[in-house]
């Protein structure tokens, strides 16, 4: 893509092409390239080859899982009913997707408009994380076609999972609505965008409620297994708080991670606003994440003190616990604090990566590694289970990239009509872009004043 832009390709960032003609949907989908150009750039990208390899092996196995049953694809263990699909796919993806409601809250409720360059990325990150957590869930459920049963057929309202099901379902629709304003801009349907804009506050507040509850509920699910989860990862009073609070830095650091990757690998897609503001926004997110991590470490220690579990620290499990807390939370907290103070962005980002690792490790530890700690054997996922998990994650990456390439997430959608009104708003981002393409410049923000 970078090379093609150097050779004079105009990036699709408005409904019009460089000659002022309206772009067709196909042209938008192909990023303004001809089909052969599009294929050429796809073949050039080494990531695509890796993804193709994963899909070549993974898709047949994923299909096989539905024909030959769970016993064929997974460990199918009675003692470890939840394997990688839920332990990693559901329990780790959901906390990393708390970014949507957090940035939504910061921008729409607290009025932190300086965070807006990253708001849409955070919303998208939330939507995709949840969506793929549900995909993992579908792969894991014995009878996935019955997924709507708790909504329509039979109700078990005393169950925590009932809450999770309802909240994830409603929150997914809330997130679809939140992200759809970017889609409406891209497809050219301003009425839809205005409609969403009107209910933004309502959507955001319901987002906070639903997120608080089901992030916590995922933790509360483990309070059904008081003797099975290792005491260091278990707290009957605070489990939901541990999961909720750790999801906050998890989501923020995931946005830092994704924005870092996006800025490095698809720099052409972000506009100047995104690239200029990225460091400043990252610092703000890192500050928030630091508060979250500090709180999380505190309530983790309070839980150990509350049930007097100090003795467990002096065991193999205790060392594993210390590893998780130190490498996954304490060290990143130190790194990010230092990085924020000295404005060393590489260190801040390093800390964010480690926090993401820490949150994932915590969830996998709770759901799989330390689960059934009293049983003599540990369950190691068989290769098919690992391959299916990887395949779903690869699909997540493909969909994520597909959307970032096209929808106005990292850039503002320009509308030609405003050319004269705000000509200086969005300067041309990519270096070496040809002269003729410096046409319609305006930001959609001035549009929103109309509604």
């Amino acid at each position: 893509m970078k090379k093609m832009i150097q050779h004079g390709l105009a990036i699709v960032d408005s409904p019009y092409d460089e000659d002022g003609k309206k772009r067709s949907l196909v042209s938008k989908l192909l990023l303004g390239l001809t089909p052969s150009q599009y294929l050429l750039q796809a073949f050039r990208n080494p990531l695509n080859w890796i993804l193709a390899a994963v899909f070549a092996v993974g898709i047949p196995i994923l299909i096989g899982r539905f024909f030959f049953g769970l016993a064929w694809a997974t460990s199918g263990s009675n003692d470890y009913p939840w394997g990688l699909f839920l332990g990693f796919g559901l329990f780790a993806m959901v906390p990393l997707s708390s970014s949507g409601f957090q940035l939504g809250t910061a921008c729409e409720i607290f009025g932190r408009h300086d965070l807006e360059p990253i708001e849409r990325l955070a919303l998208l990150n939330g939507l995709l994380g949840y969506f793929f957590a549900v995909i993992y869930l579908l792969a894991d459920l014995g009878q996935p076609w019955r997924l709507p049963y708790p909504m329509v057929v039979s109700f078990g309202p005393a169950a925590v999972l009932f809450l999770v099901a309802w909240h994830v379902a409603t929150y997914l629709s809330v997130q679809v609505a939140e992200v759809s304003s970017a889609f409406f801009e891209w497809i050219g349907f301003p009425a839809g965008k205005r409609a969403i804009r009107r209910i933004t506050l309502g959507l955001t507040v319901s987002g906070i409620i639903l997120s608080t509850l089901h992030q916590g509920a995922l933790g509360a699910l483990f309070t059904y297994a008081p003797g099975k989860v290792h005491p260091l990862w278990y707290s009957s009073s605070f489990q939901w708080l541990h999961f909720f609070v750790s999801s906050l830095p998890g989501g923020l650091c995931m946005v830092i991670t994704v924005s870092t990757i996006a800025a490095k690998t698809m720099g052409w897609r972000g506009d100047t606003r995104f690239h200029e503001k990225l460091d400043k926004v990252t610092v703000s997110l890192a500050k928030g994440a630091c508060m979250g991590i500090a709180t999380y470490i505190t309530i983790k220690l309070i839980a150990i003190a509350h049930d007097n579990k100090w003795a467990y620290l002096d065991s193999g499990w205790g060392q594993w616990f210390m590893f998780e807390i130190i490498v996954g939370f304490m060290l990143p907290l130190t790194l990010m604090t230092y990085g924020v103070h000295t404005r060393k962005m590489a260190i801040v980002r390093m800390g964010a990566f480690m926090t993401v690792f820490g949150v994932v490790l915590n969830r996998v530890n709770t759901a799989m590694i330390t689960f059934n700690w009293k049983l003599p054997h540990r369950e190691i996922p068989p290769w098919r289970e690992v391959v299916i998990s990887l395949t779903i994650f690869a699909t997540y990456i493909v969909v994520y990239r597909f959307i970032l390439y096209r929808l106005p997430i990292l850039f503002k959608w320009r509308l030609q009509e405003q050319e004269e009104t705000v000509p200086e708003a969005v300067p041309v981002p990519a270096p070496g872009r040809r002269e003729a393409s410096s046409v319609p410049v305006a930001s959609y923000s001035s549009m929103t004043k109309l509604d």
């Binding site: 199918g76 309202p157 809450l163």
Partner: protein
């Protein structure tokens, strides 16, 4: 006006959901089993490990042929657990003791307040008035949360089936026997009378009577009388229950009591959050001097610190 409508809707909707939820939570908290509930007392001092209960269960529940025959003693080499193919298994403990090995029959204990039932989001489980915990495979989605929740690791899952995998566990022969007042197949076949079927309340008295009559024979505890709120299956043992593979760390509270802290918090979040965050939004908006409060133009953005 719109916001007010939204808040109203939130509050009304929230409280409706919340009330439904908590009522059920509280009601289940004080439940101590149906008065007429039946149960089985297992006297492990009488069991000789003949495994005829396993064979009877296999026949009664029309389970698949086992890998090795029911006379094969090699299965005692390892601890087994109930699975989708065997609802009950007998394990051997205390092999090296001079007093001889002790055998323990394992199956679903049919809790008074079952964790599987309270964790099920489609309400597939029912605790019948006869004391059996039965399962409706027609609504089961296959999340296997009941298997996570069961403190006795009783439910097995039919992982081999691709089209209709379901949870399989002992149902106390509810469909074929218990409903008609008959004892389960395993109890009927037991040659040693190690298993006694009767009203749970009577069995507790009987168990304590046996301990009182021959105190040397038993440890002074009836497993299942109080564990996780009481179970329909009760056990007597000659040695400490922990030596027979029982989980002796279980609390006397039902599993659901661990979850109540969270369930109680749900209606609070549903009702407080909308007002709290809408309020904060109003506070933040006043500071900004712009009626719109969103996506202001880039000039204003730049002037912010």
């Amino acid at each position: 006006m719109k916001r007010r409508n939204f808040l109203k809707a939130c509050l009304i909707g929230g409280t409706t959901i919340a009330l439904g939820k908590t009522n059920k939570g509280w009601a289940s908290g004080s439940f101590e089993g149906y008065p007429e509930a039946m149960g089985v007392l297992v006297d492990t001092t009488r069991c000789i490990g003949c495994r005829s209960c396993e064979a009877a269960c296999n026949k009664e529940q029309k389970l698949p042929e086992p890998d090795t025959s029911f006379d094969d003693p090699s299965v005692f080499e390892h601890d087994r657990r109930p699975t989708a193919k065997a609802y009950t298994v007998v394990n051997r403990y205390q092999k090296e003791q001079p007093s001889g090995p002790v055998y323990r029959k394992v199956q679903c204990n049919h809790c008074n307040e079952p964790a599987c039932l309270t964790s099920c989001f489609v309400n597939a489980y029912t605790k019948t008035k006869e004391g059996a915990v039965i399962y409706n495979s027609k609504v089961c989605v296959g999340c296997r949360n009941c298997m996570i929740a069961c403190p006795f690791n009783a439910p097995g899952y039919d992982y081999d089936s691709a089209t209709n995998p379901i949870v399989k566990k002992c149902i106390l022969c509810y469909d074929t026997r218990l409903k008609y007042g008959k004892p389960p197949a395993c109890v009927e076949i037991c040659p040693q009378e190690a298993l006694t079927f009767g009203h749970r309340a009577d069995l507790i008295k009987l168990a304590h009577e046996r301990i009182r009559a021959t105190p040397d024979r038993y440890v002074d505890h009836v497993y299942g009388e109080k564990e996780v709120g009481g179970t329909s299956w009760l056990y007597l043992a000659p040695v400490g229950f922990d030596k027979l593979g029982f989980d002796t760390t279980l609390s006397n509270d039902p599993i659901i009591s661990n979850v109540k802290d969270f369930l109680g918090m749900v209606p609070m979040v549903l009702s407080i959050w909308p007002a709290l965050f809408s309020g904060i939004h109003l506070l933040c908006k006043n500071q900004e001097h712009d009626g719109h409060g969103h996506d202001t133009d880039s000039n204003q953005e730049d002037t912010k610190p």
